[in-house]
């Protein structure tokens, strides 16, 4: 697999140098691996910090800015960042109002953020954590690592970020983040595996004519392999999988998300099918976002995330946001 890179070892810092060049409104430090709002700490505001392995861009660094995250700590490709880095991020953005860690539910992310929270609390910061665990392909039981955090991360970061921007206290920001997390479910399918720079070859074999259902965002194989399906069939499967876990009694926010290499024209076609299925299931859609937002390097495929949204969540969703990856109203 060919990549537009220099050497595999420097992919993450190289990308951060590019972010620094393209986004002077952010404070990007390629060495200590932090992406921070240029105006942080923002007085009187709860700070949101997220992070995780790299390779999911624009998540998380691309969601730093007014109305969303205060800082992101990118780890190596698909590798949770380290506690020191997270604690440094927290210290850089805390205005005294406390810090909310948005953590995707992976063993590595959970353990490292836990350690970071201890470090930050040792420094006198108030830290709350919200776990994102939306992927219904994974059964949530005490005998598993629980559902993975995927597309819902964007909803949590956007909506909690909007509330924090309004000056809400840590408890309320944490509560709304938890509400969004609990109200969101996702399901994804891959048409091709991805290739990590370090490995240099696809993370799994996917023969022509087959697809993987129930994939995550780390190039891991899915739960099931099937003969290739049409966009409409995948939409049926994905939406029904989500709706088995989430029975919305309010309109939903929908994210039709590309895994990285699927062109927008295909994602929009898939979006049409997702809307068709939702209409058939009598689930009204309040807002739809289509694009490559929570990605898995150069994987081809898509995921669907639905979030049951009350009026307040929709208001916060519509609130202004100004980040490299998500921007409106500003």
């Amino acid at each position: 697999m060919k990549m537009l890179i220099n050497v595999p070892e420097s992919v993450v810092p190289d990308a951060l140098r590019g972010m620094a060049a393209a986004h002077p409104e952010l404070a990007v430090d390629p060495d200590s691996r932090l992406v921070v709002r240029g105006d942080a700490p923002v007085a009187g505001k709860v700070a949101l910090v997220s992070g995780g392995g790299s390779g999911h861009e624009p998540l998380h660094g691309g969601f730093v800015g007014r109305g969303m995250l205060d800082a992101a700590c990118p780890g190596e490709i698909f590798t949770s960042p380290v506690p020191d880095q997270m604690a440094r991020a927290a210290a850089a953005v805390d205005s005294g109002e406390g810090v909310l860690f948005v953590v995707k539910n992976y063993t590595g992310d959970v353990l490292n953020f836990d350690m970071a929270a201890e470090l930050a609390e040792d420094e006198g910061l108030r830290v709350a954590k919200v776990l994102v665990q939306d992927d219904v392909a994974v059964t949530d039981s005490t005998f598993t690592a629980g559902r993975r955090g995927t597309g819902a991360t964007l909803f949590v970061e956007k909506i909690a970020g909007a509330l924090a921007e309004e000056g809400a206290p840590l408890e309320r920001v944490e509560a709304v983040a938890r509400q969004v997390s609990e109200a969101s479910r996702s399901f994804g399918a891959a048409l091709s595996p991805c290739t990590t720079p370090a490995k240099g070859s696809p993370t799994f074999d996917l023969p022509a004519g087959e697809l993987e259902l129930g994939i995550g965002i780390h190039g891991e194989p899915g739960r099931e392999r099937r003969p290739m399906m049409t966009s409409g069939e995948i939409a049926d499967f994905a939406v029904d999988a989500v709706l088995e876990d989430l029975r919305p009694d309010a309109p939903v926010l929908a994210l039709v998300n590309g895994m990285g290499a699927t062109p927008l024209i295909e994602l929009y076609g898939f979006c049409a099918e997702v809307h068709r299925v939702l209409a058939e299931r009598r689930v009204p859609v309040a807002r739809t976002l289509v694009g490559n937002y929570v990605t898995s390097l150069d994987m081809a495929g898509a995921s669907v995330t639905l979030c049951q949204a009350d009026e307040e969540l929709l208001r916060l969703w519509d609130a202004p946001v100004a980040t490299p990856g998500l921007r409106w109203g500003l």
Binding site: G75, F78, V82, G108, T144, A145, A198, P221, R223
Partner: protein
Amino acid sequence: MVDGEALDAGFFSRWMLAAAEDVEREADRLTELDAAIGDADHGGNMRRGFEAVRTALRTDADGAGPGTPGAVLMLAGRTLVSTVGGASGPLYGTLLRRAGKALGDAETVDVAGLAAALRTGVDAVAQLGGAAVGDKTMLDALIPAVDALPRGFAAATAAAEEGAKATVPLQARKGRASYLGERSIGHQDPGATSSALLVGALARGGGA
């Protein structure tokens, strides 16, 4: 190094350096194993961490290195936590930090003492990650190794390697591999494999 001998800080440093060498050599294999049932980064994670451990041991205390077995393990553990990330960083970091802490500031330790300290570390790993033997994790190599350690390094190494191999038929219940459900069966756990490397490096703590 005869297994019964007193192990000093030099031994522990050499153990860590030997482990770093083994990890470096086997990094691609660890990544391959992780690609099959995880996210293809375990080799890179371990290499980065043990490379940092190597540097830390060299530069600590003005080049003299940490002075006690406990200090070596605690330094190595702290370094892994702050450079690896992922699941293995906090887990291996905790293993070594807690084992080091258990050793206190003794100047030397015998194999039985090492086994006891490592058991403390392994227990901490089990508690932190919520996993048990048979969940297809590093514990499947670490626990039998610690059990065998009082019988010597060779026994511990054999037990760790056997434990790692024994993960092949298991269905993962913790870590990323658990996402694959039944499809995790038939692959050797990368963390158990790296654990076997770490245990195997013990025997070389005397040389190199």
